[in-house]
Symmetry: C2
Subunit: 354 residues, 2 copies
Amino acid sequence: MNDIVTRFEENPLLSPKDLTPSREGLTIACLLNPGVFIHEGKICLVVRVAERPEQNEFSVSFPILKEDGTTEIKNIHLNDADLIATDARVIRYKGSDYLTTLSHLRVLASDDGIHFHESARYPPIYGKGALESFGVEDCRVSQIEETYYLTYTAVSPSGVGVGLKTTKDWVSFQSHGLILPPHNKDCAIFEEKINGMFYALHRPSSMQLGGNYIWLAESPDGLHWGNHQCIARTRENGWENARIGGGASPIKTPEGWIVIYHGANEHHQYSLGALLLDVKDPSLVLARTHEPIMAPTQTYEKSGFFGNVVFTNGHVRHADQDKITIYYGASDEFVCGGVLSISDLFKALEQSPA
Amino acid sequence: MNDIVTRFEENPLLSPKDLTPSREGLTIACLLNPGVFIHEGKICLVVRVAERPEQNEFSVSFPILKEDGTTEIKNIHLNDADLIATDARVIRYKGSDYLTTLSHLRVLASDDGIHFHESARYPPIYGKGALESFGVEDCRVSQIEETYYLTYTAVSPSGVGVGLKTTKDWVSFQSHGLILPPHNKDCAIFEEKINGMFYALHRPSSMQLGGNYIWLAESPDGLHWGNHQCIARTRENGWENARIGGGASPIKTPEGWIVIYHGANEHHQYSLGALLLDVKDPSLVLARTHEPIMAPTQTYEKSGFFGNVVFTNGHVRHADQDKITIYYGASDEFVCGGVLSISDLFKALEQSPA
């Protein structure tokens, strides 16, 4: 391992206890995987807030969003022979899958990038409609000119896909439905057009043939996507042999686009790696780190709602253009931050084909 | 069951022995799942031709398309402990999936809709590039004005997605890459725009949450797709509880768009059903058949390369506007045909919500 991230001493920056549940009867189980943007001079996080009812020792309880916006609580007795609950995040019951938590998105702002606060300035974003009845998760924010593009995971009994909203003021949002059908997540739009086209990374999953790989797509308008190409696959090593997926919008450098991505192994340990994509043709992978640039090492990264996870989908670039603050979810329960330098990243990016 | 299809007495219309393999060393294992179009006054089929090397009793042999267009034959000994070969169509070896056959598409023309012949007029269509190295399959053809849109399954180690080619003359083709990323197939474009937009049915598959359902997508240009919506899910009955997927381009009637689709149960038996979609908003399902309108009953539908399958992705409408000839793959080995009437279809389409 070649960990190049200097964690903040203040980590975790945010824990479930720091926020108030969205409604009575629910508790916040996890704060995680923030998208990041700059707005009105502040550093802002779009944090995923995962809630569930108080649990008791006899049953699993979980919330589902109904069409009218209210929440229904389902209870399943732990002795029920039809219940399969081996994963903290998903349960299977009578042939259907459910999430143990219901997520929405909340915006928190900061002057220093370390202390984040809720504000009435920013309304929360809840799932809406049949394709988001199990919630909205893991939002990436890309700013292109004056418009912010929010790509997030939309979850429902119909599957897990990528939803898109746009906004200019973080008060009124335009919903554009699912831009990528199931099973897909980890979508981030590049923050500038290339040859007149929008580009995005995304992570479809296959049931048979293929796997959990990083793909690239093109769009003339940011809403409709095509020419999907697979640019990076899992590798048979200790840290990214099960799943990989893109993080935040790629970072432009003269040498190419840097993608900080996550890789998970068969033990569901999540670490971070990096790709370097050609500036003019981002379907060309110029380099890829062999070792993780960050892996779970701290207590808050190793223990929590779902331990052994570092997962980033948001960052800000410093004025020196070399330093980057990445924000990341730790153990699916905490929001943390750390700093890395692009020159260290380039040292880690051996010039080896993907 | 409420079988409304009158099979042709000449069935099967095409069998593997009727065509010549594409190259020495391969035999044709299956002819199946034809797309259908009218061209220069003839009824034409785009037949999927699935080939493999001669098999012996000691090993499984299968072909893979290389980047240079040549074919590599892989051999795996049946005693190899790493080989999992329980499905005639797919094998698993050392953690990777492979197809047992390599498919390309071949166009056959007919004057009477029953006797089809190859012709030098129509070049075959082979998979090309990294995303089609396991072949191209199950092509739907939609004609919009003078352009034919070919949507087909593109298969490779990166997954199973939907490729698009367009042509006006069936000699020169424009490739548009994958319009839908893995795991996706069964895509058919509507043959006219609705409110200025292209529409298509497709069938993404989910690993967790969701299933094998029919989705609808929109596009401004036919190449880039968005606003994906789930319009029909599997149902707990004897014939479509495992998978459903759209057939050919929907049939326009004054009452709505008719979709003839396939459903498979847990025993991999494939039957046909129908949906009725709103004329102006095809995301609205107005009706759906409860019983199959066609199921495997004939010897050639029950026994073959992969038995108990009827699967259609092409049809022609008769001049009377009521009768339709559907062409279908039987047992993944034969091309067959039959006639049904739209008025019988409407009788089968109870007015029940999906």
